[in-house]
C-alpha cells in the first residue's frame, strides 16, 4: 500500500491549478512519487536544489540562514534565490528533516513563487541496484541523485558486487570525498532510501553491514549526525565523519587511512 500526504502551505492551496504556468521547478529532498509523476507527465523541468547548481558565493544564503547550519540546506537556499523557478516542492516529512520544515517557511516568505511542502510517506520500494553495483562511487551518487527527478524505475539491470567497503549516509555536499572509495563500495543509509524512492523508510536507513568496514557520514549540523555516530559505535569497524561545506585535508586523510588500514580484498 502506498500512502502519500501532501501538505499545502498557506499560500499555495491551488498549486495544481497553477501548475499550467510551471516550466521549471525546484525540488528539495524527495517529494512523493505522485508529485514527481505529475511533473514528469507535464514535462516540467525539475532542478534538485540539494545539489550544487550555481556558482554564487555560499555567503549569499547567510541573509536567510545562519552560517552555522546544514550546508545542504544553505545550498538549497542559495539555489532557490539564484535560479528563476516557477515553484518549489520541498519535502518536510520523515523522509527529510525538521530543518527543511523551517527552510520551507523561510523560502515561502522570501520568494514570490509557490513553495509547496510535501510529506513523502511512499513505501513501495523500487530497489537499490546502484547502491550494490561495482562502479565509481561518484558515478553511483550522480546516478542516484539524478534518479530523484524521475518517477520511473531505473531500466538497466546492474550486477551486484561483493562489498569491500561501505558508505553510510546522505549524499555529501562535497562529492570529492567519494573518489577515495573503491568501486566495490556499497551504499547504505538515506542514499539507499533515495534510490529505493522511500526516503522515510527508517529500517532501510538504519541498516548497515557489520562485515564491511564502513564510513558513517553526515553533514555537520545535520540531525543525522546523531544517528551516524550511534551506528558507527555499534559497527565493529567504522569511521564516523562529518563534513561541513567542503572536505578538508584531514577529513580526506581519515577516509584514506581508514580504507587502507581495513582493506578487504575484492572477491
Amino acid at each position: 500500500m502506498q500512502t502519500t500526504s501532501i501538505i499545502i502551505s498557506r499560500r499555495t492551496e491551488n498549486w495544481q491549478a497553477l501548475s499550467s504556468k510551471f516550466n521549471k521547478v525546484g525540488i528539495v529532498g524527495l517529494p512523493p512519487l505522485a508529485v514527481i509523476r505529475f511533473l514528469n507527465d507535464r514535462q516540467i523541468e525539475i532542478h534538485d536544489l540539494d545539489a550544487l547548481l550555481v556558482t554564487e558565493d555560499m555567503d549569499n544564503a547567510s541573509a536567510y540562514l545562519p552560517k552555522v547550519y546544514c550546508a545542504i540546506l544553505r545550498t538549497v537556499v542559495l539555489n532557490a534565490i539564484s535560479l528563476r523557478l516557477d515553484a518549489i516542492f520541498i519535502d518536510v516529512g520523515p523522509g527529510k528533516c525538521d530543518s527543511a520544515f523551517h527552510v520551507a517557511e523561510i523560502l515561502a516568505d522570501t520568494l514570490p513563487i509557490p513553495v509547496i511542502r510535501t510529506e513523502n510517506l511512499d513505501n513501495q520500494g523500487f530497489g537499490y541496484p546502484i547502491c550494490l553495483s561495482n562502479m565509481a562511487l561518484t558515478q553511483k551518487f550522480l546516478d542516484i541523485v539524478e534518479g530523484v527527478k524521475s518517477a520511473d524505475p531505473r531500466p538497466a539491470i546492474l550486477p551486484t558486487c561483493e562489498p569491500t567497503a561501505g558508505y553510510w549516509g546522505v549524499p555529501p555536499r562535497d562529492f570529492s570525498i567519494l573518489s577515495l572509495f573503491p568501486d566495490s563500495t556499497h551504499i547504505y543509509g538515506w542514499t539507499r532510501c533515495m534510490e529505493n524512492k522511500t526516503p522515510g523508510a527508517g529500517d532501510l536507513e538504519y541498516h548497515y553491514n557489520p562485515d564491511v568496514p564502513t564510513v558513517f557520514f553526515a553533514q555537520s549540523f545535520c540531525a543525522k549526525t546523531a544517528l551516524a555516530r550511534h551506528l558507527a559505535r555499534l559497527h565493529p569497524q567504522a569511521l564516523y565523519l562529518d563534513v561541513d561545506v567542503t572536505a578538508g585535508s584531514s577529513a580526506k586523510a581519515k577516509i584514506q587511512a581508514f580504507l587502507s588500514l581495513t582493506e578487504k580484498r575484492s572477491c
Binding site: P236, S249, S250, K254, F258, S260, L261
Partner: protein, 220 residues
C-alpha cells in the same frame, strides 16, 4: 635511502641504509626548501617527496611495529593537531584526527614555556585542569587566572593538564595510552593524563614510514 617525517615544528629523518644511526631532528624552519626524501609523511611532507604516506597510516604502522599487544590505543600529540589509532584483536577499531579544534596545542605548550621562561621538568602536576578546547582558547584561561592571583606556574600547569585531559577523552578514555610525539619528553604533560601512559617518543611516525617503505618495496 632517506625518509622523513615533516612536522609543523620539527622534521625527523632516518636513513634506512644505515639502521644503526639515530634519526636526525631538525627544526622545520631550518629545513632547506630543496630537501628531497624517498618517502615522506607529516603535515609538510608532500612538498619534499614524490611518495607521501598519510600521517594516520604512518601512525598505525608505527604502532603495529612498536607495540606488541593485540589491543592498544596510540595517541600522537603534535604541534598543531592530535590523532589516535585504536586496535582491538589486531584490527583497526577506531581512529580520529583533530586538526581544527586541537590546533596549535603542542605549539602553544612550547610557546608558553619560552614566554614565561618555565621548565616543565620542574612543574608539579596541578590538582585540577582548565577546561580547554584548544590552545588558543585556553590561553585566555591562563591570563584570567594570573590576573586573579594564581601563580603563572600553576596557571600554565592547569592549562597543560587541560590539554592532556582533552586528548585522553578524544582517544576514547582508555585505561592505558601509548603516547607518540615530542610531548613525550614533557613530564608535566605525560603525568597529567588520568590514565597509565606509555611514552613511545617522537619517532613513531618515522617507524611507521619505514614499515611502509619496506611494504611498498622501497627497501628490503
Amino acid at each position: 635511502m632517506l625518509i622523513g617525517d615533516f612536522g609543523t615544528s620539527y622534521c625527523k629523518f632516518l636513513d634506512l641504509e644505515n639502521p644503526s644511526a639515530a634519526p636526525d631532528i631538525i627544526p622545520t624552519a631550518a629545513v632547506p626548501d630543496n630537501t628531497r626524501v624517498a618517502m615522506a609523511t607529516g603535515h609538510n611532507g608532500k612538498r619534499f617527496s614524490d611518495h607521501y604516506v598519510n600521517e594516520l597510516i604512518a601512525l598505525a604502522r608505527g604502532g603495529q611495529q612498536l607495540i606488541r599487544e593485540k589491543n592498544f590505543v596510540l595517541l600522537d600529540c603534535g604541534s598543531r593537531d592530535i590523532k589516535f589509532i585504536s586496535y582491538q584483536n589486531n584490527r583497526l577499531k577506531d581512529m580520529g584526527w583533530n586538526a581544527e579544534c586541537g590546533a596549535s596545542m603542542g605549539f602553544t605548550i612550547e610557546l608558553l614555556e619560552r614566554y614565561y621562561n618555565l621548565d616543565y621538568c620542574r612543574l608539579p602536576v596541578p590538582d585540577r585542569p582548565f577546561s580547554v578546547t584548544c590552545g588558543v582558547l585556553g590561553m585566555s584561561s591562563i591570563f584570567d587566572a594570573v590576573v586573579s592571583g594564581v601563580a603563572v606556574e600553576e596557571a600554565v600547569a592547569r592549562f597543560v593538564k587541560g590539554i592532556a585531559v582533552n586528548a585522553f577523552r578524544f582517544a576514547g578514555a582508555p585505561e592505558v595510552l601509548f603516547l607518540s610525539g615530542g610531548l613525550c619528553d614533557n613530564p608535566l604533560f605525560v603525568q597529567s593524563f588520568p590514565c597509565r601512559v606509555i611514552p613511545l617518543g617522537r619517532f613513531v611516525l618515522l617507524s611507521g614510514l619505514a614499515e611502509e617503505a619496506k611494504g611498498q618495496g622501497f627497501f628490503m
